[in-house]
């Protein structure tokens, strides 16, 4: 299968001992990869390096064959992402915010902007300034921005943050349909284990900056009753922490 994301020996440490150590991971085309781990395990650090917000100390990330360190523009050409909190320019409307982003992609026109606003249920707020948006609305707008350019790879850090149940369902539907219809590859981090179980078809567990295991969701659910059980046992097997990790 075609490798879409290659994480090679990725290392980035912080002064307080946190960080990621020698991370290796391959994501294949069509994957909806769930990146699972407790707070502070290094999920966001890894994803920030993948999207060029942080430079790695060592190693590299290749997206569609291009290194994010050396060929950033090429690597990011077909990537959409949402890292931590969805940011927007508060003095611009939802539409204008998306238009700012659209300028970087030659084939995104106003029609496509309307499309993603419709897709994320934000169309009715098209001309409203994002200053007054709730966290959930901002998150939806962030997701709209992430998929705006019809990316081949979408990197989402805690995409369901601040969403209500309805929102979670909408977004999950969107992810699944994009993966099915457009063969979009997703790399999603979350601490909501149940949701990851429902959405992702491959799971990687990160703990204390190291990858513990990567497995298909189907294979996991064959051996464990829930994903949560798998997660706890994985962590325990590595002898580091007791029961609940979420």
């Amino acid at each position: 299968m075609e490798k879409v994301i290659e994480i090679i020996n990725l290392t980035k440490t912080y002064g307080n001992g946190r960080g990621i150590y020698d991370l290796n991971l391959d994501i294949y085309k069509g994957d909806i990869f769930g990146f699972l781990g407790p707070n502070g395990a290094g999920k966001t650090t890894a994803m920030k390096i993948m999207t060029g917000l942080i430079r790695p100390e060592n190693g590299d990330v290749k997206i569609l064959g291009h290194s994010v360190v050396d060929e950033y523009e090429k690597a990011m050409a077909k990537v959409g992402c949402l890292i931590e909190i969805a940011e927007s320019y508060q003095f611009l409307s939802a539409f204008e915010n998306l238009k700012q982003i659209a300028r970087y992609y030659p084939d995104v026109d106003h029609k496509r902007i309307d499309e993603v606003l419709e897709l994320t249920g934000m169309y009715k707020f098209k001309y409203e300034k994002t200053k007054k948006f709730s966290l959930g609305m901002k998150q939806r707008l962030g997701l709209a921005a992430a998929v705006l350019s019809r990316p081949k790879v979408v990197i989402l850090d805690e995409p369901l943050n601040g969403l209500d149940v309805e929102g979670m369902i909408d977004i999950r539907k969107m992810i699944l349909s994009l993966a099915e219809k457009e063969q979009t590859t997703f790399f999603i981090s979350s601490h909501l284990i149940h949701d990851v179980e429902l959405t992702c078809n491959r799971i990687g567990v990160i703990y204390n900056g190291r990858i513990l295991n990567v497995e298909n969701t189907d294979a996991i659910l064959k051996n464990y009753a829930t994903l949560e059980n798998y997660f706890v046992s994985e962590v325990e097997r590595n002898g580091r922490v007791s029961s609940s990790a979420s």
Binding site: K48, T51, G52, L53, I54, R55, Y72, E73, K74, A75, M76, A77, V79, C81, I83, E84, I85, E87, S88, Y89, Q90, F91, L92, E96, N97, Q100, I101, R103, Y104, Y105, P106, A145
Partner: protein
């Protein structure tokens, strides 16, 4: 190049959608109006002519180039860098398929365009005011020199902006950058007065370099030196600022 254009367009859009630009325009116009009122007052009160039609734009330039223009350049620059750092909105641009160098350059280009716009606005309106309210003293030569003086002022202002860009990349807080900029600006002004033989080292002196173009003899050597000093410091500040911007973590 297309992505650079996109980034530049974005920066310009952000710039003009903010109230700061509107305030800058209003303040510039206020300077012209107040200046003209002062001139009229001086004329009727003291019996002095004050300024003629061509001298008025030069008076306006000499005032704004040392006051509101650096002030608004600082505000816009700090907004463009520190503002987006603190709100994390820099990520919106950073995660697009565009290199940091292009983002950095686009931001600076938009600031330069802002300065140019402000200068042109001031030129047009001060000329209008100059011609309407003052005795005609224009000649083709003096008119040309006036326009040229406004245009060359873009250079020192750009160097100033680059200096603030560097500061904005070093210090996290926009307010800190603002006050440090003002302190440095004032310190340079004072040092330039005290040590006038070394004044070309203090970059605030170059703000008045348009005066060189008014000299009849056209002191080419001096102009070239001033130009190279600005070019050198510009390159230096640009590279230093970019070095930090490129290493920054968001």
């Amino acid at each position: 190049m297309a992505v650079f254009q996109a980034a530049l367009l974005n920066e310009i859009e952000k710039l003009y959608r903010k109230k700061k630009v509107l305030v800058a325009i209003l303040l510039s116009l206020a300077v012209i109006v107040i200046g003209q009122l002062v001139i009229v007052g001086v004329r009727s009160g003291f019996g002095l002519r004050g300024t003629g039609s061509v001298e008025f734009p030069m008076l306006v330039l000499s005032v704004v180039v040392n006051t509101i223009l650096p002030l608004f350049t600082a505000l816009v620059t700090i907004d463009s860098f520190s503002g987006e750092f603190s709100q994390n909105s820099m990520r919106i641009t950073l995660t697009r398929p565009i290199s940091r160098f292009k983002i950095y350059t686009a931001k600076i280009t938009s600031i330069v365009l802002f300065i140019l716009g402000a200068l042109l606005l001031l030129l047009v309106f001060s000329m209008l005011a100059g011609f309407i309210f003052n005795a005609n003293s224009a000649s083709f030569d003096s008119l040309g020199r006036t326009v040229f003086s406004y245009l060359v002022s873009i250079l020192p202002m750009t160097v100033l902006a680059l200096g603030i860009v560097l500061l904005a990349n070093i210090f996290r807080s926009g307010i800190a950058v603002f006050f440090i900029s003002i302190l440095i600006f004032l310190a340079f002004k004072v040092l330039g007065l005290l040590f006038s033989q070394y004044s070309s080292l203090f970059l605030t002196t170059q703000l008045d370099w348009y005066n060189l173009f008014l000299v009849n003899s056209f002191p080419l050597a001096k102009i070239a030196r001033q130009f190279l000093i600005m070019l050198g410091s510009g390159i230096m500040l640009f590279s230093a600022g970019f070095y930090i911007f490129d290493k920054k973590e968001f």
